[in-house]
């Protein structure tokens, strides 16, 4: 069977990817101490930190790869694995904890088969937990793709998630 790859199109995608990565890294050329901010920008762009990008950061900014890797794995905000289409962030701060935040995580593990840091097989959802979002008055809080949901019960979470395909 012949491969029906549209080469100019693939080439264009690869080029735009490379261009984006290069321009992001270059914008930090004078502030290479702001590695964490750079990694955050990369993650915002690609949803995770691709391996080749980490290598490129190390080469272009002349930072040892070991240091890039240690920073990328030390901070919980970073993921080395691709994430799902929708990101669920469940707050497990103290105020949410005593109001039952953990039960949301239990629910997702039970019904969606994902633990914190994991992605559903169909790549629909990634679950992450956070220590506090500072919306303690509204706990338990969950955030789906940046939208804050307040006073979430396991039942309500189910209803909310139905809206994300």
């Amino acid at each position: 069977m012949e491969l029906a790859l549209d080469f100019p199109k693939v080439k264009a995608i690869v080029e735009s990817y490379t261009e984006k990565v290069d321009s992001l890294i270059d914008s930090y050329a004078d502030n290479k101490e702001q590695l964490i901010s750079l990694l955050q920008d990369i993650q915002t762009e690609f949803n995770y930190l691709p391996q080749d990008v980490l290598v490129k950061i190390s080469q272009k900014l002349d930072i040892p790869l070991s240091q890039v890797f240690s920073v990328a794995t030390f901070f919980r905000a970073f993921s080395l694995k691709p994430r799902g289409r929708h990101l669920i962030t469940v707050c497990l701060g103290t105020a949410c904890h005593i109001r039952g935040g953990q039960r949301l995580v239990d629910k997702l593990e039970r019904d969606y088969g994902i633990k914190p840091g994991e992605t559903t097989e169909d790549k629909r959802f990634t679950l992450e937990t956070v220590n506090c979002l500072g919306c303690c008055a509204l706990g338990p809080v969950a955030v789906v793709d940046g939208k804050y949901e307040s006073q979430v019960t396991p039942d309500k979470l189910d209803r909310v998630l139905r809206g994300y395909k």
């Binding site: 964490i36 240690s70 920073v71 901070f75 109001r99 039960r103 220590n131 303690c136 706990g139």
Partner: protein, 626 residues
């Protein structure tokens, strides 16, 4: 282009007099009698739908062509997050709560134009059942002293002119042009201000030591890495009044001889990041930041750095390591960061709230500032009053107020008629304070005496349904996850403590475990490298001290009195109360509930996973948790 430059030069204040002229011209343009609708745009109210409310107001104002008569302002957090979205109609300060987009046309026609009150949007005092019309009369606000936080509800944080209109940057002008650095430090020392981030170190002494430290380059840093779960006052201040923080930082930089500043802020606070960024740009445009500030010859720039979500980075040496682009591991501080910090240069680090106090001290004087507070703790403190409490939100109170006043008079007590059990202060490094100490005055030293601490101002109220062993386990789990792993006592000690507490909450604990916990706590406080480890055992020690009976119930009787620890509780259905509505049966994820319609249901204990779904959905209180 020429036009743009001209405009920029026009608003740029090149001297103290020009700043005052600018302030006057802003005030002249404003009509104090004009109706102003202030909608809280803090993260809490946004989560409750404030953005849709703002849009609805904009549409309605446009539709009725009221742009000239009515001003709409999206402000920072007002503090009363529980009741969001919050809308205040000025100048009368009519207070509406839980406002929905559908209410907007009525608010405009009835209240703004007609001067009438809409009863259903008013706040009802849960104690007296009285409807309250005006914002200052709401008990939640009435008992507060909002000196630092007060402007939050009045200014649009993305508009520097709002801040200038309420007297903003006048302290900067006074400090730069009328005071010497030594005089400023003297004033801060005399005020008695102590660090609001946790440690409570005297701010003036820190500044002095940074000023005296040798080094050509010095740094000034704002710690907005508010990691304490259950505390969000730093976020609200940076979101709602970023200029007050920036003004404090510039004054601190001038006093210590620094030209470069950083704001290290959590990435989880996107709105705070964006407002701080806008504020910095505007301050530069207005000649209040950058080169030759207000014509004084003093230069200072501020860069924003976003954190990576590590609790330990709130610790000064870890924060600075992270600013250098390294992992956030603390180092031993034989030499203070104020002498050798960021890139080994003297670095002055203060918390958001501490910085925001500085302009007040400079403007009104140390004598005025130190009039409020207790002997050892001056001024006000902003607390986040959260957990099992009626009026959740941010409260600013004078130091020395009692816990009881905060929880009952401002917080409105415990919801649903439940009994108060404890209040946890100081974040994960703090402790739980029981009812018998509710009349303790709140300040740095008194809280420490009770085995807790002031910390960053988190105050989490717990009722009878909270298990204190579970709370201790929660904090130890939290700290275990956040320990950077550099030093052994913290890394290993927390792991062992977490195992032991896990066992106890599962009913597998032994009495000796309590001694081991106390031993480990001693090793942590004496042997850990940084404050995270040194204080990590506080939640365990304070709960062991005040709530030992709960630990013993878990160990001896295998019972969790609060009904929280899953392995020790059982759900059952009271056949007397069960109406057979099938609601719990349908909601049970494992199919453990059986029964016919209109017949009492039963739970098969072998299949029950104790998720509590049945307990939540039952309308007849027929599900019993034991």
């Amino acid at each position: 282009m020429v036009e743009q430059v001209r405009k920029l030069l026009e608003k740029r204040a090149g001297s103290a007099a020009e700043l005052e002229n600018l302030r006057q011209s802003i005030l002249d343009k404003r009509d104090t009698n004009r109706a102003c609708i202030s909608v809280c745009g803090g993260t809490g109210c946004r989560a409750s739908g404030a953005e849709a409310v703002v849009d609805a107001f904009l549409d309605e104002i446009e539709r009725r062509e009221l742009q000239i008569q009515v001003e709409l302002k999206e402000t920072g957090c007002h503090g009363f997050c529980e009741r969001g979205p919050v809308v205040v109609i000025r100048p009368k300060n009519i207070f509406y709560q839980r406002v929905k987009p559908e209410d907007i046309p009525e608010i405009i026609s009835e209240t703004v134009l007609g001067g009438k009150i809409i009863e259903r949007l008013l706040y009802v005092d849960p104690v007296t059942n009285e409807k309250i019309v005006y914002e200052p009369d709401v008990p939640f606000y009435k008992r507060q002293t909002r000196t630092v936080f007060g402007a939050n509800g009045e200014i649009d944080p993305t508009n520097i002119e709002d801040y200038i209109a309420v007297g903003g940057y006048s302290a900067l002008s006074k400090a730069l042009l009328q005071m010497s650095p030594d005089k400023i430090i003297e004033e801060v020392k005399k005020s008695g201000l102590r660090g609001r981030g946790g440690g409570g170190f005297p701010t003036g002494r820190k500044w002095q030591s940074c000023r005296d430290a040798e080094g050509k380059i010095k740094y000034v840093i704002c710690n907005a890495d508010e990691g304490d779960p259950g505390a969000y006052q730093d976020r609200s201040l940076l979101e709602g009044n970023p200029h007050s923080v920036i003004e404090g930082m510039i004054i601190g930089a001038y006093a210590t001889g620094s030209q470069r500043g950083y704001i290290y802020v959590r990435n989880e606070y996107p709105l705070a990041v964006s407002h701080a960024r806008i504020a910095i740009e505007q301050a530069v445009d207005y000649g209040l930041l950058g080169e030759n500030i207000l014509g004084s010859g003093f230069n200072f720039t501020i860069t924003i750095n976003k954190g990576g979500g590590a609790f330990v980075c709130g610790e000064s040496s870890a924060l600075m390591a992270s600013l250098e682009g390294k992992i956030g591991e603390p180092r031993a501080k034989y030499v203070h960061m104020s002498e050798k910090g960021l890139w080994d240069s003297p670095s002055l680090l203060n918390n958001v709230k501490t910085w925001a106090n500085v302009p007040l001290i400079i403007n009104k004087g140390a004598e005025w500032y130190s009039r409020v507070g207790t002997a050892g703790s001056k001024g006000t403190m902003i607390f986040s009053l959260v957990g099992k409490i009626n009026n959740t939100g941010l409260v600013e109170v004078p130091m020395g107020i009692t816990l009881r006043e905060m929880i009952y008079d401002i917080g409105g007590g415990i919801p649903n008629g439940k009994k108060f059990k404890a209040v946890q202060t100081g974040g994960p490094s703090g402790g739980c304070i029981p009812e018998k100490y509710l009349d303790t005055p709140v300040d740095f030293d008194e809280l420490t005496k009770l085995g807790s601490m002031m910390g960053s101002g988190g105050m989490i109220v717990m009722d009878e349904d909270t298990c204190m062993v579970d709370v201790a386990r929660y904090f130890i789990e939290f700290l275990k996850g956040e320990s950077c792993g550099k030093c052994t006592p913290c890394r290993e000690g927390l792991n062992r403590m977490s195992e032991i507490l896990g066992r106890i909450t599962q009913g597998k604990g032994k009495r000796e475990d309590l001694d081991t916990l106390e031993d480990l706590a001693g090793i942590l406080s004496g042997g850990a490298l940084c404050a995270l480890g040194q204080t990590a055992a506080n939640p365990v020690l304070s709960t062991l001290h005040y709530f030992r009976d709960e630990y013993l119930a878990h160990i001896d009787e295998k019972r969790c009195l609060a009904g929280v620890c899953r392995e020790l509780i059982q759900y059952s259905i009271d056949p007397e109360k069960c109406e057979g509505c099938l609601r719990c049966l349908r909601g049970c994820p494992t199919g453990a509930i059986s029964g016919e319609k209109r017949q009492p249901h039963t739970i098969n204990q072998d299949m029950c996973i104790k998720c509590g779904a049945c307990y939540d959905v039952c309308k007849f209180n027929a599900v019993v948790k034991r």
